[in-house]
């Protein structure tokens, strides 16, 4: 089975985010980047499927030059190939629709049975790529998958829904978005890192793929959440109840 995994490089979850003077981007100096955690579940699941049978896993990303690092991580985890759609514009100008079109374009002519995405990238939380890419590729999408079984062409997937699990079936080719709980992603082993050194990354230029890069949704402004007001320590339960009733008015 040949599998594509769409991944995104995002700031590390422990990064202290600051907004740059333009108001449209975060300060990128000194940030450490990681592969978005949901994408790691996606990579892991793809690798497991490959290892259980045969085929290839290709990691794909749309992003700046520095996003190659994310692809290298994917390769070091065990992916066979990597495709980098190099996007050189400002991150604020790249909306989900354009990204999805670029992904679909990059996959034109490529053989695949399954496409994985993370349920969302943890930086902009747009939650759109899976659906959009499935639409452009004209394949069914199963989102928020926490368990996946594939038998021949048949897919059986468990999804998280409010308060429970839903089991659905579909057929290959399809697009799956990975949810936490799907698996425990491996970390790159030293041998994997060594092998990644020897693997080529296929480079495509976003500007040369014939996709209109004009954003339909433009990022206008980023704001940090308001600072949390100082907490208050109450002396007794009675005082707590009084405060909840009179000050915060929740009871």
């Amino acid at each position: 089975m040949d599998i594509i995994v769409c991944i995104k490089q995002v700031p590390d979850t422990t990064t202290v985010i600051q907004i740059d003077p333009s108001g449209k981007d975060i300060v990128r100096d000194g940030i450490t980047y990681i592969v978005s955690p949901y994408d790691e579940f996606a990579i892991e699941e793809a690798l497991k499927l490959k290892e259980a049978g045969d085929g290839t896993v290709t990691v794909l990303t749309v992003g700046p030059e520095s996003a190659k690092e994310a692809l290298r991580t994917g390769l070091a985890m065990g992916a066979d190939e990597a495709i980098h759609v190099v996007y050189e514009g400002a991150p604020s100008q790249l909306d989900s629709l354009t990204t999805a079109k670029l992904i679909a374009k990059a996959l034109e002519g490529k053989k695949y049975d399954l496409v994985f995405c993370g349920r969302q990238a943890i930086d902009d939380d747009a939650l759109q790529i899976g659906s959009l890419v499935a639409e452009f590729l004209n394949v069914p999408q199963i989102s928020l998958v926490i368990k996946l079984e594939i038998n021949g062409e048949q897919i059986k997937a468990s999804r998280t829904i409010e308060g429970g699990t839903q089991v659905v079936e579909s057929r290959l080719p399809a697009l799956i978005t990975a949810q936490k709980g799907l698996n425990e992603p491996r970390y790159p082993s030293m041998k994997g890192i060594l092998k990644a050194r020897k693997k080529e990354i296929t480079e495509l230029k976003a500007a040369e793929l014939g996709v209109d890069l004009t954003p339909r949704v433009v990022l206008e402004e980023l704001r940090l959440p308001p600072a949390r007001p100082a907490g208050k320590i109450v002396g007794s339960v009675a005082e707590l109840v009084k405060a909840l009733h009179e000050e915060i008015k929740v009871i």
Partner: protein, 397 residues
């Protein structure tokens, strides 16, 4: 290209691999540290997880199950581990022995040992120090007498780490007595290295309650007619001195990395506490320069030590002559030990009385930081080396 101080993608991946491995076990960190610093054990689960990343093979060729990346990845990994409060002496000594084997061991020995090192299945110790031979290895008295296809070893070693938690020791012996060597006009002649099983008949160990190198225990060992097969000799008979000096460089570099990593841990604890602790009014103590400046100085010195350490590892990986690597390895170990002591001191200072409470953990690092000043080589011997070899001053002893 001349200088490039950026981590490569590959190096970042190594750091990330170790960080993620540790994150996955975050709930066990406190108990692991207690295991290491209170009970002198290295937790099996931590070793397992560490080895599973493949890091113990990172410095070995692919032919022995390694990934052929040089010493730098292990250095970065140990630094990262130490930044989370876990010093792995086992990794340091095992790597040093394995690198020594790689360079000087027979093919048969390499095939027998190195693949097991690469998977983490085999750990190694190093037995050099004797009651009368610490800084002066030429005083080694443990004697190996050749009898047919094996040696018969008699003697004693002291302060040997991990005799209970490693499978084999790289043992420093004499095969020609010091008197005979001097009579032949070459006092460095006559040392021989051999690999011995920790449970060899004729090897007795006695526990030594030492503090300082944590997560590993120290032992005195006694050899009484211990038989060692000839094929376990590493390098040539009587030619051990050069091999020893050559091999100890990697140990110093890795020890320096553990020390600079420990500074990260201590600074993290110190700054966290200094941001929160209020003593007079509503100001955190971190706003007092008396608290902040020593921490800032520690940071500066740590970066200096780290650069020296990376430079030493770089020289090692470039395959520069051992004396040249030794120069940087010694500078790195010296500086890193000093800054680790400083960091531990300031961490305790910042925490006031809580600095001595096990709950805040910083006190654990006091002995360890201090140990690096004395072992694997003392500060004085480093100064001797630099004076004599780097500054070309006359030898003082």
């Amino acid at each position: 290209m001349g200088f490039d101080f950026a981590y490569t993608d590959e190096q970042k991946m190594v750091q990330e691999s170790i960080t993620r491995m540790l994150k996955r076990h975050e709930d066990k960190h406190v108990s692991w540290r207690q295991d290491i610093y209170k009970h002198h054990n290295f937790p099996d689960a931590l070793w397992q997880a560490f080895a599973e990343t493949g890091i113990m093979g990172s410095f070995l060729p692919e032919a022995y199950g390694g990934s052929d990346m040089g010493l730098m990845p292990l250095l970065l990994a140990l630094e990262t581990l130490s930044a989370h409060g876990f010093a792995s002496v086992h990794a340091v000594v095992t790597a040093m022995d394995a690198l020594c084997l790689l360079k000087h061991g027979s093919e048969e020995l390499k095939q027998r040992i190195l693949p097991k090192v690469a998977t983490g299945e085999m750990r190694l110790g190093y037995a050099h120090t004797e009651p009368d031979a610490g800084s002066n290895v030429f005083n080694t008295a443990t004697f190996a007498k050749r009898e047919g296809d094996h040696y018969v070893v008699n003697g004693q070693k002291v302060f040997i780490s991990g005799v209970d938690s490693t499978q084999k020791l790289l043992l420093v012996t004499r095969t020609t007595s010091l008197e005979d060597a001097i009579a032949q006009g070459n006092r460095t002649y006559g040392l021989t290295l051999m690999l011995v099983d920790c449970d060899s008949p004729g090897l007795e160990k006695q526990f030594l309650p030492l503090q300082g190198l944590e997560g590993i225990k120290q032992w005195a060992i006694f050899f009484e007619n211990m038989k060692v097969p000839v094929e376990n000799v590493v390098g040539t008979e009587n030619g051990g001195a050069q091999i020893i000096f050559d091999s100890l460089n990697s140990e110093r570099i890795l020890a320096a990395g553990i020390a600079t990593g420990m500074v990260d841990f201590l600074l993290d604890r110190s700054t966290r506490y200094a941001r929160e602790r209020k003593v007079f009014g509503n100001r955190a103590i971190g706003s007092y320069q008396a608290i902040a400046h020593p921490l800032a100085e520690t940071k500066i010195e740590q970066e200096a030590a780290r650069l020296l350490t990376y430079r030493a590892a770089w020289a090692f990986d470039k395959g520069l002559p051992p004396a040249e690597v030794g120069h940087f390895a010694n500078l790195a170990k010296f500086k890193a030990a000093d800054v680790a002591i400083k960091a531990a001191d300031h961490a305790i200072e910042t925490h006031g009385g809580y600095g001595f409470s096990e709950e805040y953990e910083v006190i654990y690092y006091w002995n360890t930081a201090r140990l690096f000043k004395t072992a694997p080589i003392t500060r004085e011997m480093i100064l001797n080396f630099i004076s004599e070899h780097s500054l070309k001053l006359p030898r003082s002893y």
